[in-house]
């Protein structure tokens, strides 16, 4: 772990399925059933997270970005590898990692008042004394842009944007240092989305928070992130500083992804999309996972898995066709 990293993810792999229950295992042993399929949701992912940085994780559905976020937040245990967080321990009882979810409707308990939603965790973990809890909850709400006087209401009495703010207040109430935002603005309207993105940036400045920002919306990720991880079928295919990745993507998949993003200034675009669907993670292609859709695929790509290695500019990419730092320019048409 480097000195300024507050989170270190080392060779993390997550597999789902496989073992099956007692009967399934019995049947497969006597040859009456196929063994359960194993999904490699995340495969051998490593990265460091520096204090105060925003790491954007992008990729299409099924690429493992949410599974990765859940492992970082401690909601899932990795099958292999380790995740080490280095909390400063400034506040007793503080929980270093919190998660903000996509859907502000299903992530708040409809039968609890907002004061309880936000106040329960700090009370249980002894972060605030019981007599100060009420003021603490109101302060958290105000900080996130919801009127603290409404703390005795239920979640359904708020609009979608306000509910997302309550979700953020709930996460902040246990004084975390890392927030994992899994598609936290995707379900919101454009004008509300801008409000929440601004709130995230304000909180970062005020509280020195570190974010893992998971989204399929590359526009938002580009706006907010310092560094980007691009994932495809459970593996990192490219990572590096956000500016460089968006200005000069190296991996063919990253290129396809960035070129596919609709933008306001692209009028009457003739889209030249990348072919095909994302393959099933149960039976991913051999070699480079991206080769069946890659316009540049070589015979080598079908058999050999490209390793994630350093390329120019402090970046990493997993592609056989990218030259090592010395020869930077490659022509991909």
């Amino acid at each position: 772990m480097t000195s300024d990293a507050i989170l270190s993810v080392r060779n993390v792999t997550k597999r789902f399925g496989g073992r099956g229950d007692f009967i399934a295992r019995g049947l497969s042993r006597i040859g009456l059933a196929e063994p359960n399929a194993v999904v490699h949701a995340v495969e051998d992912v490593s990265f460091d997270l520096r204090k105060g940085e925003v790491l954007g994780v992008v990729g299409e559905s099924g690429c493992g970005k949410s599974t990765l976020g859940r492992m970082v937040a401690g909601l899932l245990d990795p099958s292999e590898g380790e995740i080490v967080a280095q909390a400063s321990g400034a506040t007793t009882g503080a929980l270093p990692m919190q998660m903000i979810f996509q859907d502000p409707f299903s992530s708040l308990n409809p039968r609890k008042r907002v004061s309880e939603l936000i106040g329960e965790a700090p009370r249980v973990h002894g972060i605030v004394p019981p007599d100060a809890l009420d003021a603490y909850v109101a302060d958290m709400m105000d900080r996130c842009g919801v009127d603290g006087n409404y703390r005795d209401r239920f979640a359904h009495q708020f609009s979608g944007g306000q509910r997302q703010r309550i979700g953020i207040a709930r996460a902040l109430a246990v004084r975390p240092e890392i927030l994992v935002c899994d598609e936290a603005v995707s379900a919101l309207d454009v004008s509300i989305q801008a409000q929440i993105v601004n709130l995230f940036m304000d909180l970062r400045d005020e509280l020195g928070l570190t974010y893992i920002f998971i989204s399929h919306d590359l526009g938002v990720v580009e706006h907010i992130s310092d560094r980007i991880l691009v994932m495809y079928l459970g593996r990192i295919v490219e990572s590096g500083p956000a500016e460089q990745i968006f200005a000069d993507p190296q991996h063919p998949y990253t290129r396809a992804l960035i070129e596919g993003v609709p933008r306001l200034e692209r009028r009457r675009t003739v889209y030249a999309p990348i072919k095909g669907d994302i393959p099933s993670p149960i039976d991913p292609p051999k070699g480079c996972h991206f080769h069946p859709r890659c316009p540049l695929a070589q015979p080598q790509c079908k058999v050999e898995r490209p390793a994630l290695r350093d390329i120019a500019g402090g970046r990493q990419a997993a592609c056989h066709l990218i030259e090592r730092p010395a020869k930077k320019e490659i022509s991909i048409g």
Binding site: E60, V190, A194, M201, H216, G219, R267, R268, T269
Partner: protein
């Protein structure tokens, strides 16, 4: 140029015994042959309801209380239910957001396409099959013969949406209303669907109304844009004019809310507040409470005012060219 579809002063309300909610309050728009109109708005703005009203898919208590929907000059709203059945799917087709909801989960793709074909044209099973294969081929589905045997759940999201598009195109409709058809899809798949729809409409001269909340998506494909707010069109015009020099403060706000390139890390300009509920709309301009330019006159309702031949805006103080 005569428009294929012309919507005039459409009012749709939900009429209940003790309460009437006016959801659409005078929507007017038109699409020409081969033209793509982007209909943009946030949730609750009435964009989907406009599509449903045009195609007469409203269910009680929703109903059109005023206005005209003219398809080649013929008023769709005055047709009987039987005539409407002949028209729907044949001359006005619809593509929905979630293809899992439009496709019947217990029928094979072939059955669904055959039913759609034979609802409007007399043809043999074999003929229907040939037409279905051709339609699937056209939307870029590999191995269409074998795909016909599939059930919807056996296809990926992008494939399902292609099937839905193929069904919409079966009868070469004059107008297609596409309601957020790419919202549920991944970026690369969205690109595929956009390019597909774009090419098909251009080649066949089909008029397309593309309903979405995402300005960036329609910026790429639309010729003209209509922006809706709280049940009214607030601005309509050619895509370049509207995006480069929006006249309505709401349009301006929407554009500024989208993260743009080269502004990394900066605060996004945000519109304060949120869209009012339809039950508590302000009397005058419905955007006035959130508008930084609002003045006393905004307590009255502004009319749609033409700025030039192709552009109009519903605002007393339209933003001047180039102002922020």
């Amino acid at each position: 140029m005569t428009s294929v579809l012309n919507v005039k002063d459409l009012h749709t309300s939900f009429v209940m015994p003790d309460l009437t909610i006016a959801a659409l309050q005078g929507v007017s728009l038109s699409v020409d042959k081969g033209e793509i109109l982007g209909l943009v708005g946030e949730s609750g703005s009435g964009k989907t309801l406009t599509g449903f009203s045009i195609n007469r898919l409203l269910s009680a208590p929703g109903r059109v209380v005023q206005g005209e929907v003219l398809l080649h000059g013929q008023d769709v709203l005055s047709l009987g239910e039987e005539d409407m059945r002949h028209l729907r799917g044949r001359r006005i087709a619809m593509i929905f957001q979630d293809p899992m909801m439009t496709l019947n989960p217990v029928l094979r793709i072939e059955t669904q396409m055959r039913d759609a074909l034979r609802a409007h044209e007399k043809m043999s099973k074999a003929m229907a099959r040939t037409r279905a294969i051709a339609a699937l081929d056209e939307v870029g589905i590999p191995a269409p013969e074998s795909r016909l045997r599939s059930y919807p759940h056996e296809l990926s999201g992008g494939m399902r949406q292609r099937v839905a598009i193929a069904i919409a195109l079966l009868h070469q409709p004059d107008v297609i209303i596409a309601d957020e058809p790419t919202t549920a899809l991944d970026v690369t798949i969205q690109g595929q669907i956009l390019s597909l729809v774009q090419n098909l409409c251009r080649d066949r001269g089909t008029a397309l109304i593309w309903i979405t909340h995402d300005l960036a998506v329609v910026a790429g494909i639309a010729d003209r844009l209509a922006v809706m707010y709280a049940g009214r069109v607030v601005e309509i015009g050619p895509v370049d004019d509207l995006l480069d020099a929006p006249a309505h403060p709401y349009t301006r706000g929407l554009i500024d809310s989208v993260p743009a390139r080269g502004q990394r890390g900066q605060r996004l300009k945000q519109i304060p507040g949120r869209m009012p509920a339809l039950t508590e709309l302000p009397v005058g301009c419905s955007f006035a409470p959130r508008c930084e330019h609002a003045k006393a006159a905004c307590a009255a309702l502004p009319d749609m005012t033409a700025l030039d031949a192709e552009r109009s805006v519903r605002c007393f103080y339209p933003l001047a060219e180039g102002s922020a």
